[in-house]
């Protein structure tokens, strides 16, 4: 028993050694990072996160910098977390995606429907010679993709929950849910597996698939 206690105490001790606060991912991305970003832009734009080796050093620096010293501790923490998690890793993570805004004339090459009426469902294939083809959903995109696979520069779609543009090849797709796109049953895209699983559960989806697992038979079955 005492050994167990010691073991437990060891963990408590270790966890308090690192000041890095323990928030859930969604709380960070929905509340803390946006707040930290605003604070960074408005108050402390002169802090360079790459100068600091550890999170603690960064927090100390924030507490000693002129613009940020007077901020409330919760603001300082949000700023530190934003700098540490988002800016420090920006070199790896941040990608620029082309916008999925379409003109009033743009039509889907598969079904011929106008796209501006369904901005939430617009997906796009960009070819190397610069041609961009827009679709009203991933189902039509796949139908086109299976026939025109060559010289593709990138494929983009919108994440269902956040409505941000994502790389279609990295997305998770839910099939068979009770949410319909403009052309009926759809492959609905998600940025992460957690979102896709939650959607599957909420909207009675059948399976979660990756981009490379999607077959022509699967896509045509959605139309039945």
């Amino acid at each position: 028993m005492s050994l167990f206690k010691l073991f437990f105490l060891f963990f408590v001790f270790v966890s308090t050694l690192f000041a890095y606060p323990n928030y859930s991912d969604s709380l960070k991305s929905k509340k803390i990072y946006p707040m930290g970003k605003k604070i960074f832009q408005k108050k402390c734009a002169d802090i360079n996160v790459n100068n600091y080796k550890s999170y603690d050093a960064l927090v100390d620096a924030i507490k000693n910098t002129k613009g940020c010293r007077k901020l409330k501790s919760s603001y300082q923490e949000a700023l530190a977390l934003y700098l540490w998690d988002v800016q420090r890793e920006a070199k790896v993570v941040e990608k620029k995606y082309p916008s999925l805004a379409v003109s009033h004339k743009e039509k889907c090459p598969i079904c011929g429907m106008f796209l501006y009426k369904y901005p939430r469902w617009v997906s796009m294939i960009e070819y190397k010679e610069g041609k961009k083809v827009y679709f009203d959903g991933m189902k039509d995109l796949f139908k086109y993709y299976f026939k025109h696979k060559k010289d593709i520069k990138g494929i983009y779609t919108r994440a269902y929950y956040t409505q941000e543009t994502i790389d279609a090849k990295d997305a998770y797709y839910v099939i068979g849910s009770d949410v319909y796109g403009p052309m009926g049953h759809e492959l609905i895209g998600f940025k992460d597996k957690k979102g896709a699983k939650q959607f599957l559960f909420d909207h009675r989806g059948k399976t979660v698939v990756r981009f490379d697992d999607v077959t022509a038979a699967m896509v045509h079955k959605l139309d039945e």
Binding site: K31, K38, Y75, Y161, T162
Partner: protein
């Protein structure tokens, strides 16, 4: 279609002038009817448009805590729990409420803001970019500034806290709300100061506002929150739209009854007119036939006469309604839309927003009906022989 026959038009005009008394009566009734109906439609379409604009500036989902059937303070910890739900993209704890300034008998609308949080209202975003608020300062609208000046509060204002002590807040600047009349009594200050004024403890607020990126999910997410928090009142943007629609349905019912009565009166006059011409009018048609006019010419002249009258009355009616609603702001009839705490015509600008379909409806209900009511009895008389008519 033939070209307009100006001789017949001239004849129609002189006919109208000759029967001055009768035609003035018809024009008056016609104009009043059109003015009444279009007033009602102008008010509804303008109000509805403005309400939709207002709703579009609000948060997607608002959650209020209820205790004993009354809105009560809500805890911050709840926000962190709600942000875990997939589909909610941002959220904030709001501190806001009303403050009654008894000296001047006016109610201020107090809003606590955090410059680093998400904001839904474009006006607030603009103000927060412009001013850097400290904890002891506030921004007030021009209207509030005037009210405070009348009570000799020029530099600062003393709010009375629930325990009776005073909270002094400096006026940093006054802002113009433009055409956002609903914000004319707005005061903006930091959340912590407002918590002191309302007597909330540090981690409490008045409600939680969430934003949902995909509007398709709005219903599903709000029902999910309702299951999660059975005591809370969850209002989504869709709910608000529905609620206002229902309100307008009720008012439109009141309108409809007015509308029906007005139309009924109009049709009685039309029926009376269609049922028979006066002997004088009959004689006139008989004379025209006797000097060689054919049936077609008589009907042509009558058509011009009716069109001139009804178009004149219609445009006059629409113009009167336009001036009454959008220039004078609908003094009496607007009161139909005054509801306790929900809608107040005084809080609306009644901006010019007209739905052409309504005008078309009024046009089709009045002008063609009147023309038909003039033509049919004339045609009946005109087909008879001249001597038979004049006998």
């Amino acid at each position: 279609m033939n070209k307009i026959n100006f001789y017949l038009l001239e004849y129609a005009y002189s006919y109208i002038v000759r029967h001055k008394n009768k035609n003035i009566f018809i024009v008056t009734v016609f104009t009043l009817l059109v003015a009444l109906l279009s007033t009602l439609f102008f008010i509804t379409s303008s109000l509805q448009y403005e309400l939709k604009e207002r709703i579009s500036n609000q948060s997607d989902i608002v959650i209020q805590n209820y205790k004993a059937g009354m809105p009560a303070a809500i805890d911050t910890a709840l926000l962190d729990k709600l942000l875990e739900i997939e589909g909610i993209t941002a959220g904030k704890l709001e501190v806001k409420g009303k403050y009654y300034f008894s000296q001047k008998k006016s109610t201020f609308y107090l809003l606590g803001v955090d410059a680093f949080e998400m904001q839904d209202d474009p006006l607030i975003v603009k103000l927060l970019d412009q001013y850097d608020l400290s904890d002891s300062e506030m921004l007030v609208s021009k209207n509030v500034k005037d009210v405070m000046n009348q009570a000799y509060y020029k530099e600062y204002f003393n709010f009375i806290k629930p325990d009776g002590s005073l909270q002094k807040v400096t006026i940093k600047a006054a802002f113009d709300v433009g055409n956002r009349v609903e914000l004319k009594n707005l005061i903006i200050m930091s959340k912590d100061t407002l918590r002191k004024i309302f007597g909330y403890s540090a981690n409490k607020g008045s409600d939680i506002a969430l934003s949902v990126a995909n509007k398709n999910e709005l219903d599903f997410i709000s029902s999910k929150i309702r299951l999660l928090l059975p005591n809370a009142k969850v209002t989504s943007k869709d709910d608000l739209l529905l609620e206002y629609d229902r309100l307008f349905d009720y008012d439109s019912g009141v309108f409809l009854s007015l509308f029906v009565i007005a139309l009924f009166t109009f049709f009685i006059i039309i029926y009376d007119k269609a049922n028979g011409l006066s002997s004088e009018e009959k004689r006139e048609i008989g004379i025209l036939k006797a000097i060689g006019w054919c049936v077609e010419d008589v009907l042509h002249a009558k058509f011009y006469e009716a069109s001139l009258l009804s178009f004149f009355a219609f445009t006059l009616g629409i113009a009167i309604a336009f001036v009454y609603v959008f220039v004078f702001k609908a003094p009496l009839l607007g009161a139909i839309f005054t509801h306790e705490n929900m809608l107040d015509i005084q809080n609306f600008q009644l901006n010019v927003h007209i739905e052409l379909s309504y005008i078309l409806l009024i046009f089709l209900l009045s002008v063609p009906v009147y023309i038909a009511a003039t033509l049919i009895p004339s045609w009946r008389v005109a087909t008879l022989d001249a001597d038979e008519v004049m006998r």
